[in-house]
């Protein structure tokens, strides 16, 4: 809510300083979004003397002025009739290039062919509230002087953000109440006005609430002999300061009282109402209503659970309740008699209607959050009647109409002192609690039974009172008390620890960690995925390419690579630790992944190393060291099956038994449509962290003792068909080794093969076509004793023989 401080001071006694006022806003919980100090903002405005004024030909309400803005210098300025300008008077002028307090910059313009190099500024253009319309002077020595230097403007425009639970602060008086409570001041409420209705011949206009759950209270007053015209400057400048435009005195008064009390009001042209009889009811099929903003509501076209609540006269709806008045019944310059209404509507009803119809207003904004049906409504209603009588010459005709079927009683909350003190960690005594809460309008008795004013729609239990007490004594006066009570063991869940461990490994190996959005384009969401479920789709995406929850991290990392390629990236090693998600039926599935891509050279010593782009075996080897060193796992790398996105034959499924740990492989750039934008081979991998954690925690880490014998290294060369996979050779060798050992248990030796590595693969002469020679290195030992050379030889012979027969 945009506040002019001078206006706020109307309601405070004694007058606080601006600094105190601002501190009070913060302590109350009214966040200061923005401040415009008018004294500073008015510095660039200069005094110019009007030398000549003549109407602009062919235009009504426009005047061409010649203004002396510096001694001897005349500017041509076109102004409106908002404030009558007279030749010979000094007026405030914003010259071209000047910025007005609320941000508008003055530019030179041509209006109806006339140069206009500036703007004559009535107070309202400057955000200043004043009884006068404009600063004027006859002192010629002030020509060219800054407005701020010739008059005292001690006002600020403060944009306050009112918390959503405090609609009672959506008016000056509500804000004044908070400030007064904090600073120990009194609130000055405008004097109440009771109009005479002793000779009530006509009686009040009948009013009736049909929808009593949707409307709590409805009051109204007919006022006759109204003269509609412009409002006085004190009122106009206040509306402008709040960002509103004055319309006419009657409408301006309803807006002013809305800003003052936070209570919406509406003034109908009484002569356009049938009956007159006012009914609060739902709109009916077949009805329509033209609103002030020009749109027409047609009941039959409205798609809401319940048709909207309206104010109707005897025959037709005349206003959309709590949101907007109807156009045919509005107050115009021809109006001579008005029906002023004030009401309290159910906040959920107004919210649903406003949102459902897409129409909002200053009224609906307040009703949606909740208004007071009691003292605030009454006070605002009386204030508006008084102002209409005073400013339009109208007279209240008849006694006020009122429908209030079920009085809203103040809630009573028993407050326990121990609970207050235990909640805040302080020691307050009952008199303090009583005094402080009373400042906010609560009625508190000796036993701390608290009666809550009905404008406090948020206050439904004791903790709200405790919060109010904390605000009043100040959050700063609550001490910092080091935590007492039982202490738990802090720390991290095992999966989080695993993520930290893997992140350290990845970064130590040159990978850069990314954070990429998990919402992606539907077309890439399921590429590379290791999940077996359908993707979760967002119903209301902000962009088409952020519509689906990703099922793999690889597409996002490829997008990173692509961006870096455009931006002259050097290295293409990226990783991310995040969830991949989907839906199994209607049940969300969330699984943690380590995703990575690698597309750069193997080493970083460009000047010395040979050009060696990364290849499948390099990425695989990297993952093997991750599995081996970090997790003590030795999974298998299998050719089939693969998810979409990988190049078959150069990619693998990583598995341990029947469990799939993840995938690794060459990215099929054509398939993922990156071949034009990423012009080098790139590898991707993704691992299932939940499964890795499960496998890792299942291991027992026990010390194996130190061996008593030396390890033996023996090379074995065999010739096998070229089509045989290494994994088959390895498996056969290991099997042959254990067979050979178990065939010789009688020797007492029990060697174990500790590693089996590939030394060489050779195809070509003298190896026959279709065959390859494979050299393996076996490292084995009996940890307890040294093997004899005879035993070793027979072991190797037996293994060789077995392999030859397997691959014959």
């Amino acid at each position: 809510m945009l506040i002019n401080t001078a206006w706020l001071l109307d309601y405070l006694s004694p007058t606080p300083s601006l600094e105190d006022l601002r501190a009070a806003f913060i302590r109350a919980g009214l966040e200061i979004e923005d401040t415009i100090d008018l004294k500073t903002a008015l510095k660039p405005i200069v005094i110019g003397f009007v030398r000549e004024v003549k109407p602009v030909e062919g235009a009504t309400g426009l005047f061409h002025c010649l203004v002396e803005t510096k001694p001897g210098h005349i500017d041509s300025i076109v102004c409106t009739d908002g404030f009558p300008v007279e030749a010979g008077k000094g007026v405030p002028v914003a010259l071209v290039g000047t910025r007005l307090p609320e941000g508008k910059e003055i530019t030179s313009a041509k209006i109806r062919g006339i140069e206009s190099n500036g703007m004559i500024c009535p107070w309202w253009e400057l955000g200043v509230v004043s009884k006068e319309g404009m600063f004027t002077t006859t002192d010629e020595s002030l020509i060219g002087k800054s407005l701020a230097s010739v008059t005292t403007i001690d006002q600020q425009l403060v944009d306050l953000s009112v918390l959503p639970n405090r609609p009672d602060c959506l008016g000056y008086i509500g804000i004044a109440r908070e400030v007064a409570a904090i600073l120990g001041l009194q609130v000055k409420v405008p004097s109440s006005f009771d109009w005479p209705h002793a000779n009530d011949v006509q009686g009040p206009v009948p009013v009736r609430i049909e929808e009593q759950t949707r409307c709590t209270r409805y009051v109204g007053q007919r006022i006759d002999n109204v003269k509609v015209g412009p409002s006085p400057y004190w009122l106009q400048t206040r509306l402008y300061a709040a960002g509103l435009r004055p319309i006419n005195n009657v409408v301006d008064i309803t807006n002013f009282v809305l800003l003052e009390y936070g209570q919406p009001l509406h003034a109908f042209d009484a002569k356009t109402l049938d009956g007159p009889e006012m009914i609060v009811r739902n709109m009916k099929k077949g009805e329509s209503l033209e609103l002030l903003n020009g749109t027409t509501l047609v009941a039959d076209d409205i798609k809401l659970e319940t048709l909207p609540l309206v104010i109707a006269d005897k025959t037709k709806p005349v206003a959309l309740a709590g949101i907007m008045g109807g156009k045919p019944t509005q107050t115009t310059t021809q109006t001579t008699s008005v029906f002023l209404e004030a009401a309290c509507f159910d906040s959920v009803t107004i919210r649903k209607t406003a949102r459902g119809l897409g129409i909002s207003s200053d009224s609906s904004y307040r009703y949606e959050r909740g208004t007071d049906p009691n003292s605030i409504l009454t006070a605002a209603f009386h204030r508006a009647v008084a102002l209409i009588s005073e400013l339009t010459g109208g007279t209240a005709n008849g006694s006020p109409s009122s429908a209030y079927p079920k009085t809203v009683e103040p809630r009573v909350i028993p407050l326990k002192l121990e609970r207050v003190n235990s909640y805040l960690g302080i020691k307050l005594d009952p008199p303090t609690v009583q005094t402080e809460l009373t400042k906010l309008g609560y009625k508190v008795d000796q036993s701390l039974q608290v009666s809550v004013p009905t404008w406090r729609v948020d206050c439904n239990q004791d903790v709200v009172l405790i919060e109010d007490l904390a605000r009043l004594i100040g959050y700063d006066s609550i001490p910092n008390v080091s935590l007492s009570g039982s202490l738990n063991r802090g720390g991290q869940a095992p999966l989080d620890a695993l993520r930290s461990q893997l992140a350290a490994f990845m970064t130590a190996n040159g990978f850069l960690e990314c954070r990429t959005p998990p919402l992606v384009d539907a077309s890439v969401a399921s590429q590379f995925t290791r999940l077996n479920c359908s993707p979760a789709v967002v119903r209301n995406p902000i962009r088409a390419d952020m519509s689906t929850v990703r099922q793999s991290l690889i597409p996002s990392l490829l997008a990173v690579a692509e961006r870096n390629y455009r931006r002259n990236g050097q290295n293409y090693r990226f990783f991310e630790l995040d969830r991949v998600m989907g839906l199994d039926g209607n049940t969300p599935v969330e699984s943690w992944s380590l995703g990575g891509i690698w597309g750069d050279e193997l080493v970083g010593g460009e000047w010395i190393a040979k050009h060696h782009p990364v290849d499948f075996l390099a990425v695989k080897g990297f993952l093997q060291s991750l599995f081996g060193a970090q997790l003590k796992l030795q999974p298998d790398f299998l050719e089939q099956p693969l998810p979409a996105g990988f190049v078959p034959g150069q990619s693998a499924r990583i598995a341990l038994g029947h469990q799939v740990l993840g995938y690794i492989g060459l990215v099929d750039r054509r398939q993922v449509q990156l071949d034009e934008r990423l012009k080098f081979p790139i590898y991707g991998f993704e691992l299932d962290l939940n499964l890795l954690l499960e496998l890792k925690s299942g291991q027992s880490h026990k010390f194996n003792g130190m061996p008593k014998s030396q390890i033996l290294e023996k090379d074995l060369s065999i010739t096998v068909p070229a089509s045989v996979n290494f994994s088959a050779i390895k498996a056969a060798t290991i099997e042959a080794f254990s067979k050979a050992v178990s065939a010789t248990t009688s020797t007492g030796f029990a060697p174990v093969c500790e590693s089996l590595s590939l030394i060489d693969v050779y195809e070509g002469s003298p190896i026959p076509e279709g065959k390859k020679s494979v050299t393996l290195q076996l490292r084995f030992r009996d940890r307890q004793q040294t093997l004899t050379s005879d035993y070793m030889q027979s072991l190797l012979d037996s293994i060789l023989k077995s392999l030859q027969s397997t691959f014959a």
Binding site: R471, G490, Q492, A493, V537, I608
Partner: protein, 331 residues
């Protein structure tokens, strides 16, 4: 006798000049053999001693011994300096230009968001908070209802919250973890935390991204108070901003806390809003099956993206999600 003395001095002189000419260890060894070997010239002189009188033998013997040790010392010196020269030559040959670029794999780095998150988590773990992960695809119940956010609350609007076609919400705040954590780790006393991605329908600009990171914390015990909350946040702030960190607590509103406070830290000459906090609302405790007259708790949550931006002076949130190498390598 005299001729023998002359002989010693001659041998001495000759040996010295030969040594000066010796260019390698082999030559030095040859000189050693020539004079001090079994058939060497000095050894030969020793053999003559037996022909002399006892007095002469003593004096002459002394002279030969002196000559011998002088020569031995000189030979050792010559040998050592030749060895040193060989080492020097070897070192000179293998000298490298140490200013040449090293043979380094590219350096990796953790993302600034994750570094910041680890820092905050570390401080809180030290205060006894337990970290765990909780769902991102949430039910409306956990994300809103359990946290006292009624069905009509504006935060639940389609303008603010991503809904899935399955009727779930992408969690809008990590606060959604509260009831999960109470159920998983309860009953109290509890000190729990989580962090991770949250989703809101914001258009992307310099300070908004529809997906961002939060960290959320709560503690529940018999008599935890607002004063305990203040202390905890001061500890956290000191960990993040240094021992003199200054905080400002401003009243605020969250459906799941009362009293609520927005917390600012004094940073580079102004107050910066860093987190929201408050005493857990009785409704929330009740929803989790706890008696609000028995238990009291506090909770707070902070935006990690914003914290990272403050720590590193990052001016545009989009940098965090563009993942450009130039950016990532700076942390």
């Amino acid at each position: 006798m005299t001729s023998s003395v002359d002989e010693i001095s001659r041998i001495n002189t000759q040996a010295q000049s030969e040594m000066a000419a010796a260019g390698d260890l082999k030559a030095v060894e040859a000189i050693r053999v020539k004079y001090l070997g079994k058939k060497g010239e000095i050894t030969a002189l020793m053999k003559n001693l037996k022909d002399l009188s006892p007095d002469e033998r003593k004096a002459f013997g002394q002279q030969i011994n002196d000559a011998k040790s002088t020569l031995e010392a000189a030979l050792d010196d010559a040998e050592r300096s030749l060895q040193q020269a060989a080492i020097d030559a070897e070192l000179k040959k293998s000298r490298i230009d140490v200013s040449l670029p090293g043979f380094a794999p590219p350096a990796g780095a953790r993302h600034p968001i994750m570094q910041t998150l680890d820092l905050v988590k570390g401080i809180l773990a030290g205060l006894g908070y337990h970290y765990d992960d909780y769902p991102e695809i949430e039910t409306e119940f956990y994300n809103f209802d359990s946290l006292n956010t009624p069905a009509w609350h504006p935060a639940r609007d389609m303008h603010d919250t991503f809904y899935t076609t399955s009727g779930h919400v992408m969690r809008t705040h990590t606060t959604a973890f509260q009831m999960h954590a109470i159920k998983k780790y309860g009953p109290p006393p509890l000190r729990m935390m989580t962090a991770g991605r949250c989703y809101r329908c914001d258009q992307i600009d310099a300070s908004h991204f529809p997906i961002f990171h939060q960290l959320d914390v709560f503690a529940i015990d018999k008599s935890l108070s607002f004063a305990d909350l203040k202390w905890t946040l001061h500890e956290l702030a000191r960990g993040l901003f240094g021992e003199d960190a200054k905080l400002q607590f401003r009243p605020s509103f969250f459906p799941f806390t009362t009293p609520s406070a927005e917390v600012d830290v004094w940073f580079k000459g102004r107050w910066l809003e860093i987190l929201g906090s408050g005493m857990m609302r009785p409704e929330v405790l009740q929803n989790a099956g706890l008696d609000p007259m028995e238990w009291q708790g506090f909770a707070f949550g902070l935006g990690i993206d914003r914290m990272a931006m403050i720590r590193y002076g990052i001016d545009d949130i989009r940098h965090l999600y563009d993942n450009e190498e130039e950016f990532l390598r700076q942390f």
